[in-house]
């Protein structure tokens, strides 16, 4: 039980606590963004932390989800929810088709291939202005269900929180399942995993598809919440941010991914007063955490304090 719901339970408590402690709409907005990026990071962590495969292009899938909910209703007249489902399917299918050949690569070759994939997706979004509005971005219609319109940070706080907690439960359950063990076996040694009868290519590809689906859902939620989407969502820097969340928070840790999302999302918002120094501070934190806490924040702290924290990892 603890393995499956521990992380989700802690997240739920934090969600409720933040709701009551938040003294401004601004705090809720930042928290909502943290939940959405946290969802993407939890998904990427399944690929990076569990299966041990790096991806420097996951923002591409975020972009597919985001632009699906923007283009679907505007150009095809789809309901936003249906458009989100279509975007998630598209991202999943793309990940399935591309995943097999890409994941044969290892180490830095995989890094550059995923980087290229992300950049290609971002470039299509940037250049096909007739469909996507190009670099200026495009408006996203409101999500409407049976006459009820999801708008305002109050509403989206809970939608994003629900998505995050659901995503955490799925990720934790996956970790505790035979599939999760197979992924970790692939991570530790592909040859040993193969000898043990694990279809390595299939499991790597599965992790890639799952992480792409998480990213697409997060992208769709982000676009629906913001009501506007620009190609930056699919850009290289976004890819770097998501993988930094995973590594900073702690690879293989569901809570770690969210902690990473807090640092990378909330910090720039808090530093807006010192906008000039934002990049320097962010770079310093990335370096300092990786030098000081190599395993990432949550696993390092868990190792320090042991006990309770370790069980919910």
């Amino acid at each position: 039980m603890a393995a499956r719901f521990g992380a989700a339970l802690i997240l739920a408590l934090v969600v409720v606590a933040v709701w009551f402690l938040a003294d401004s709409n601004f705090v809720l907005r930042v928290a909502t963004l943290v939940f959405i990026y946290g969802l993407a990071a939890i998904g990427l962590n399944i690929l990076v932390g569990d299966a041990g495969q790096v991806s420097l292009g996951h923002a591409g899938f975020l972009g597919i989800g985001a632009y699906a909910v923007a283009i679907g209703p505007a150009s095809l007249g789809l309901h936003p929810l249906l458009a989100l489902v279509a975007g998630v399917l598209l991202a999943g299918v793309l990940a399935l088709v591309i995943g097999r050949p890409i994941l044969r690569l290892r180490g830095f070759a995989l890094a550059v291939a995923t980087l290229g994939l992300g950049i290609l997706i971002a470039m299509v979004i940037n250049n096909e202005a007739w469909l996507t509005g190009g670099p200026d971005g495009m408006r996203v219609g409101r999500l409407e269900l049976f006459g009820w319109r999801a708008r305002g940070t109050d509403t989206w706080y809970w939608i994003a929180a629900a998505a995050l907690i659901f995503g955490a439960i799925v990720a934790s359950s996956l970790k505790a399942s035979p599939t999760g063990r197979a992924l970790r076996a692939v991570h530790d040694s592909e040859v040993a995993a193969m000898v043990a009868g694990i279809d390595v290519a299939r499991y790597k590809s599965a992790a890639f598809v799952i992480s792409a689906v998480y990213a697409a859902i997060a992208g769709g939620l982000l676009a629906l919440y913001d009501g506007f989407v620009t190609p930056d969502v699919a850009g290289y820097l976004t890819s770097i941010e998501i993988i930094t969340m995973v590594v900073l928070g702690g690879m293989g840790s569901v809570l770690g991914a969210v902690v990473g999302a807090v640092i990378l999302t909330a910090l720039p918002q808090m530093l807006t007063a010192f906008a000039e120094y934002e990049h320097m501070v962010l770079g310093l934190i990335m370096m300092a955490v990786m030098i000081g806490l190599r395993a990432g924040i949550v696993p390092s702290l868990a190792a320090l304090f042991g006990g309770v924290l370790r069980r919910v990892r």
């Binding site: 050949p101 980087l115 290609l120 000039e276 990049h279 770079g283 990335m286 370096m287």
Partner: protein, 291 residues
């Protein structure tokens, strides 16, 4: 048509020479330490921007260029001493995040020390275009190509003819064995950061009169340089140079013949294709993984 193709070839080789130098920087550091330094592009930016600002302050161009290269070398050494050396033994992904963090930090620093505008430098020998077979070529192009060639020759001589260079090669071949025969491998890694930074800054100074520079030019250069190094086969200096020139040519011909909107895409498209069929890169050896 041939004039047009010649034109594309010249512009491709010019940017390709810069990618080649960046890829060479990646290769040097990778060989000495196994680290992929994503802050490599920032050295190019530091070289260009420092020269621009010193020149604007009245410093003669050659002195400004030398000081800029010195500054980049110093920053390269500091990067090694403060961020890479303390993280020795960290997993590759942690090292990737550290060097990306360093690149973001240096970009932020440049934004404060310098500014967020685009800047140019005067060409070394004027800007009267030279006509070659119907193509117009800027004199600076020859400086870039010649400078790139000179760096490759000097680096080769250094690596193969000096004791220190041989220590670098030995470390690249086998770090443990190098240490066993008394080579100070930490010093070799430090040296590789210094040399890579210097080469990057040099490339930045040469290319600024043609492509301009700003605090954020490093990111895309690092990506292209990394891609070029992968294309040539990571860890292979000849491959890095060939990969860089090839990426430049692919971009120039792709932009000229197919679509300039997708200029940056062609290189990555080709790299994806090459990696699918030759995971070790064009010049890489097939590595056998030991279990």
């Amino acid at each position: 048509m041939t004039a047009e193709l010649l034109q594309f070839a010249f512009s491709g080789l010019t940017v390709g020479a810069v990618y080649a130098l960046v890829a060479l920087g990646f290769t040097l550091i990778y060989n000495a330490s196994g680290v992929i330094n994503f802050a490599q592009g920032e050295f190019v930016m530091i070289g260009g921007m420092t020269t621009v600002f010193l020149a604007a302050a009245g410093v003669p161009l050659p002195i400004a260029a030398i000081v800029a290269i010195g500054a980049a070398v110093l920053i390269g050494i500091l990067l090694w001493a403060l961020a890479i050396e303390p993280a020795r033994g960290a997993p590759p992904i942690a090292l990737i995040i550290i060097t990306i963090g360093a690149s973001i930090f240096l970009r932020g620093l440049a934004q404060i020390v310098f500014d967020k505008q685009f800047h140019a430098l005067p060409p070394i020998t004027g800007d009267a275009p030279i006509r070659i077979g119907g193509a117009t070529v800027l004199p600076q192009t020859f400086w870039v190509l010649g400078g790139g060639f000179a760096v490759v020759v000097l680096l080769t001589l250094f690596l193969e003819r000096t004791l220190l260079g041989k220590a670098v090669l030995a470390t690249a071949a086998n770090r443990l064995a190098a240490r066993l025969v008394g080579i100070n491998t930490a010093m070799v890694v430090c040296l590789s950061f210094a040399v890579s930074a210097g080469i990057g800054a040099f490339a930045g100074i040469l290319i600024t009169p043609i492509t301009l520079t700003s605090y954020d030019v490093g990111t895309l250069l690092a990506l292209k340089g990394f891609a070029a190094a992968m294309l040539g086969g990571i860890g292979n200096p000849v491959g890095a140079v060939a990969g860089g020139l090839l990426v430049g040519l692919i971009e120039a011909f792709g932009a000229g013949l197919i679509s300039s909107d997708y200029k940056d895409a062609f290189a990555f498209f080709v790299i994806l294709a090459v990696l699918f069929f030759m995971p070790a890169g064009l010049f890489g050896r097939r590595a056998v993984e030991r279990v």
